[in-house]
Every structure is written in structure tokens, then in C-alpha cells.
Symmetry: C2
């Protein structure tokens, strides 16, 4: 393949019989008006030459790269970086960004990675803005956000609000409300002895869901029985074993609220292995709504996260020219209870 000579602005200008400045104006729809006739000629030339503005030249002069970076600070980067959770969100975000002419750059961050890499990325001026996902609450994230703030780069935080003091907005789904909905549902079905399987408590989500459980129980006038709160590290097998412990109790629960669908899956399996039925003997509600939840039999009742919405909102916030009219906002997106067969 002989690498055909690139088509440049100059070529287009020559073909359209105008100066390069005008071509630039036409392409960028401004900042100065162009006559209808010239505009058309330029567009035709662009079309005919299959011209695409060079990204580097553009970025150099205009200081805009039309690229957005996303980094996740997670404890389990390699296995979970692209969980269903992040995956769906990323897909939506990629698509939303693309439709605005932006590209998404993936950064490989673990929760303990040094800010050096980040500093390099920012120093290079490679991206216009950055999205950060933290699985824990501030202030563990502060040093990272500090780096971004110093670079003067727009940033949106995923899931964990509280970056407002850096001037950054956030997009979060409503973990608390999700837990409330799940519990309300189970309580509404008459369950009184409800267990909770929580996830890795280093995660803010695990904390939030557990505290929703406790709040709901208390609000319903029920005492919190700590033998009904079992834990595991977001791991289906651990959930299976935890459930076995629940089933072995003198007063086993009649319902289980699991902090994730993976955990719920383990619970359902354990219950069925014990010869009991779901939801006949024990009802189960999960959290996340991963694809399996709908497909398994019995299908899993769960709390659906607004993943695609989140992706789109983040994309919108990051590409908004009109950055925050009235200060950064913490966007809280609603979750949805999906009642299926396990409850």
C-alpha cells in the first residue's frame, strides 16, 4: 500500500478556490460566517477529496483533542475493570461521545497506581477531559483528583460524589434507594425475617446497600439480627457458603437481599441444593441486573442500574461547552426494581 499523500486543508482550499481560513470556518461552522455559495463549494471539495482534518494539527493549534479519557480506580482491575457494569456503561459512553465527534481513551488504573501515569497523560495534553470511577468514597481519591484539578482539566466522577470541592460534578446511581426498594418489596410481601448478603465492604456500594438494609429493617420496626448479615467478597461461591450458614440457623430467613446479582446467584444455588425452592421457601432479590438474572430459571428479581444513562450523562457533562452554569452538580440517577420470579 503506497500511503497516499494526505489530503490537507490547502488541497481543499485550492480546489474550492478559496483561502484555507475560509475552509476552516466552513468546517468548524464559525467563528465567522461564510457566504452560502462558498460554503457549498467548500463542502463539495471536502466531499470530493474525502478530506478529514488532521487531528494532530488541529489539537496543536486549537488545544482541543476531541478525546476523553476514562480511568477506574478499583481493587480488582484486571478481572473487574470490564465487568458487565462498566462494560455497558462504557459502550453507551463510547457511543455517545462518538456521536459528538469524541473518542474514548482507556486508562489502565488500579486503585493503588501512582499519579505519575495520570500526570503524564495530562501533561501530554492528550485529552480534553477525563472521567474517573472510584469504588470507594473520598478522601482516598483526593490525591488523584488533585492532580487533575492542577492540570485544569474538566473531570466527572462516576459513582462517588463529593468531588465538588475540586469543582468536579459527579454521576451516581442511587444505591440507597435501590436498597430501599428491594427491602420494601420483600417487606411488602410479608417477609419479616430477611437476611442480607453483603459484598466487599471496601466498596462504597457494599456499604450503602448494607446500610439500606439496616435502615429498612429498623424502619419496619424489626430488630437487626446480626446472624442474618453475612458477608463475602463479591464472590458467588462465598455467597453460596454464606447462604448455607443462613439455612443452618435455628430460625432461617424467609428472604434474602443480596448486594449483587452474583451473590444472589450463589444464594439461589445454595437454597436449591438444600432441596428448598425459590421463591417458595425463600425469596431472593439481587442488585445490578446482569444479563444472567433475566435468563436464569427462576429469573432473578433485582435492582436495575441506569448504566446506559450514566454513560450518556458522563459523556454529556464532559463535552458540554457550557461547563456548569451554577457550579458542579452531583447527578443522582434513579434505579429501578425489577420484580421477577425469585421473590
Amino acid at each position: 500500500m503506497e500511503p497516499k499523500r494526505r489530503v490537507t486543508l490547502k488541497d481543499v482550499a485550492a480546489r474550492a478556490g478559496v483561502s484555507t481560513a475560509v475552509v476552516s470556518y466552513v468546517i468548524n461552522k464559525g467563528p465567522r460566517p461564510t457566504s452560502k455559495e462558498v460554503t457549498e463549494r467548500v463542502h463539495r471539495a471536502v466531499e470530493e477529496l474525502d478530506y478529514h482534518p488532521n487531528h494532530a494539527a488541529r489539537g496543536l493549534r486549537a488545544r482541543r483533542t476531541h478525546a476523553i479519557a476514562i480511568a477506574t480506580y478499583d481493587f480488582r482491575p484486571s478481572t473487574s475493570f470490564f465487568s458487565h457494569y462498566l462494560g455497558v456503561m462504557l459502550a453507551a459512553m463510547t457511543e455517545a461521545l462518538h456521536s459528538k465527534g469524541y473518542y474514548l481513551l482507556l486508562l489502565p488504573f488500579a486503585i493503588d497506581s501512582s499519579p505519575a501515569r495520570l500526570r503524564q497523560l495530562l501533561g501530554e495534553g492528550r485529552v480534553d477531559a477525563i472521567a474517573m470511577r472510584f469504588v470507594t468514597d473520598p478522601p482516598s481519591s483526593d490525591s488523584v483528583l488533585q492532580v487533575i484539578a492542577e492540570a485544569g482539566l474538566p473531570c466527572v466522577c462516576l459513582e462517588r460524589p463529593g468531588a465538588a470541592r475540586f469543582g468536579f460534578p459527579s454521576v451516581t446511581y442511587d444505591d440507597r434507594e435501590g436498597g430501599r426498594l428491594a427491602m420494601e418489596h420483600l417487606l411488602g410481601r410479608g417477609h419479616r425475617r430477611i437476611a442480607h448478603i453483603h459484598g466487599d465492604m471496601r466498596y462504597a456500594s457494599a456499604q450503602a446497600r448494607l446500610s439500606s438494609y439496616e435502615r429498612a429493617m429498623t424502619a419496619a420496626g424489626l430488630e437487626i439480627d446480626h446472624s442474618l448479615i453475612v458477608g463475602s467478597p463479591w464472590d458467588m461461591k462465598a455467597a453460596h457458603e454464606a447462604t448455607q450458614r443462613l439455612l443452618a440457623l435455628d430460625h432461617p430467613p424467609s428472604a434474602i437481599f443480596a448486594a449483587s446479582d452474583d451473590l444472589a446467584l450463589g444464594a439461589v444455588q445454595a437454597i436449591e441444593h438444600r432441596g428448598l425452592s425459590v421463591p417458595g421457601d425463600i425469596a431472593v432479590v439481587g442488585f445490578d441486573d446482569i444479563p444472567i438474572s433475566e435468563q436464569m430459571i427462576p429469573s432473578l428479581s433485582t435492582v436495575r442500574l441506569p448504566l446506559e444513562d450514566m454513560g450518556r450523562r458522563v459523556a454529556d457533562l464532559l463535552t458540554a461547552e457550557t461547563a456548569s452554569h451554577d457550579g458542579p452538580r452531583d447527578v443522582l440517577l434513579p434505579v429501578e426494581l425489577i420484580v421477577r420470579e425469585t421473590s
Copy 2:
């Protein structure tokens, strides 16, 4: 945040008391030698000023962006783009690229998306190379590859070899061998009546795994009973129902080879719901080795894909200066049979 003035080459040069050319030489370790003393002075200046070369300027002049794009041509882009499969691979790839100073750009392609987007990306000169994943065999992918070839960009194909005529290497895992291993394993345990649950036959993997099944049966001198080959669209629920049909046969199988772990999951559930045990009554082997496979009880025997290896290999191929000494190569990575409790 007042956006601090950028530190440029000039600043570094001034501080080190040399010309910008020398700084460039030092930073890029070539193409001309620099004296030890000057080299050190420059490094010190870089350090002190926290200098990072501007990506756009660099890209403009040197025509290298140090960015790699990846696109997936799949039938189900939104749900599966970031399946476990792609996720782990991407994580490995991102990391490998990063360690070489490259960044990964995500492209949001569905299998029927037009080449226009791609042409734009390439026209912009935004990336140095591109990785493409196709879930079907050529020639459906040819028009896309044609675009890349015309742009003269290095490209690596994931999973589906046969792009050699465009001069592109490929990285694939051994689907056929995986099927063979799974079947050999089941046959070795004395199973003779083995069923196969295949996935969406539009996928080359589904085809390859099915044909491995047929080949193994034939090689073992067994006749292929078409009532034992049931299909579903990579969907756990469909697998569940397909398995119910298998169990209802006059001569139900004693083992099932499922074309994916998701399908295997559905099969296991169906078997257990029927009151039978796995592997006591029926053995099951899956394909992929998703995280759940190890965690479920009983844990699932399956074929593990070399996902991280693939990611790294692709990264290597795409960043290799020495592009193909002796023509493009189709790299075929081995898979591994993981025997667990279901078989």
C-alpha cells in the same frame, strides 16, 4: 484552577542551556547521540520542570500518535462488546500498550456499521494502528479491512484469521482444539452419548465448536444423533430449555458439551431442576472459563481462553517497529482444559 502555562521543549532547552533539537534528541534517545553531560542536564531540566512532550505537536511533526484503536464487529454490540471475553483481553491490551507508551482508543462498532466512521478515524490520523475483532469469518469483514489497507495502516485481526491477503496478521485462540479437548475429556470418562448445545451459528466460534463436536464423535466411532445437537443464541435461558428437551428424550445424554459457559450454566440448572445431579447423572463441560464457572457449585469444567495472552500479543504486534520480517503471521494461541466438578 488557573491553567498554568504549559511547559514546552523551549523551556526545557532554556533551562538546560541547550537548543531544542538536543532536548528532542535526548528525549527520543536518538536519532543522534548526545554527550553524557548534556544528556544529564536535559534530564534534570525535564525532571525539574515536570515536562511532558505535547502529544499533538509530536504527532503533527513525527506522524506518530502513540495511540491504537480497537473496534469490534459484533452482532450484539451493546450487551456483548464488553463481555468478560473482551473485557479481560482489553484490560491486558491496555496495560501492555501503556507500558510501551501507547494508549488505547475505543471504537463503538456494530457489525453493520458503515465504513464511514472508520474512514474518518483513519483520515484524521488519530491512531498509529488498529485492532479489529470479528465474530464471523471473512469475507464479511473484507470491506472494512479494505478501508484500513487503503489507509496504509497496520492492523491486527482478532480471532478470525484470513486477513493475510491484506497483509494483516491475526491473533486467534484455538477453538477447534478447545472443542477437541472437551470432547476427548468426556469420551475419556467413558461417555458415549454426548449432547452439544451450540450458540448463535452466525458466530464462527459457534460453528467451530460444533464442528469439533462432530469430528470428535465421528473419530470415536460414534454416530451423530441430531437430536443431541440443540441450539440457542448464546442465551442461558435457551440453553435451559434446550437441556429440558434433551432430558425428555428416550435416550437422554450422559454428558453435555456446551459451546459456552453461559450455556453450560443453563444446562446445569435444568439438570438440577429435573432432580438429577451434575456430574452424577449428567456431566457438563463448558467453554470460555468465565469467573462464575470457578465459583459456582459444582464448579464448571471448561475450556479456558488465553485472553490475556491475546491482549498482549495484539499489543506487541501493533507496536512492533519491525513489522513482519517474513510476511504477516496468523498467531494461534493454545487453550487449556480446566477440569472441575461438573465432569
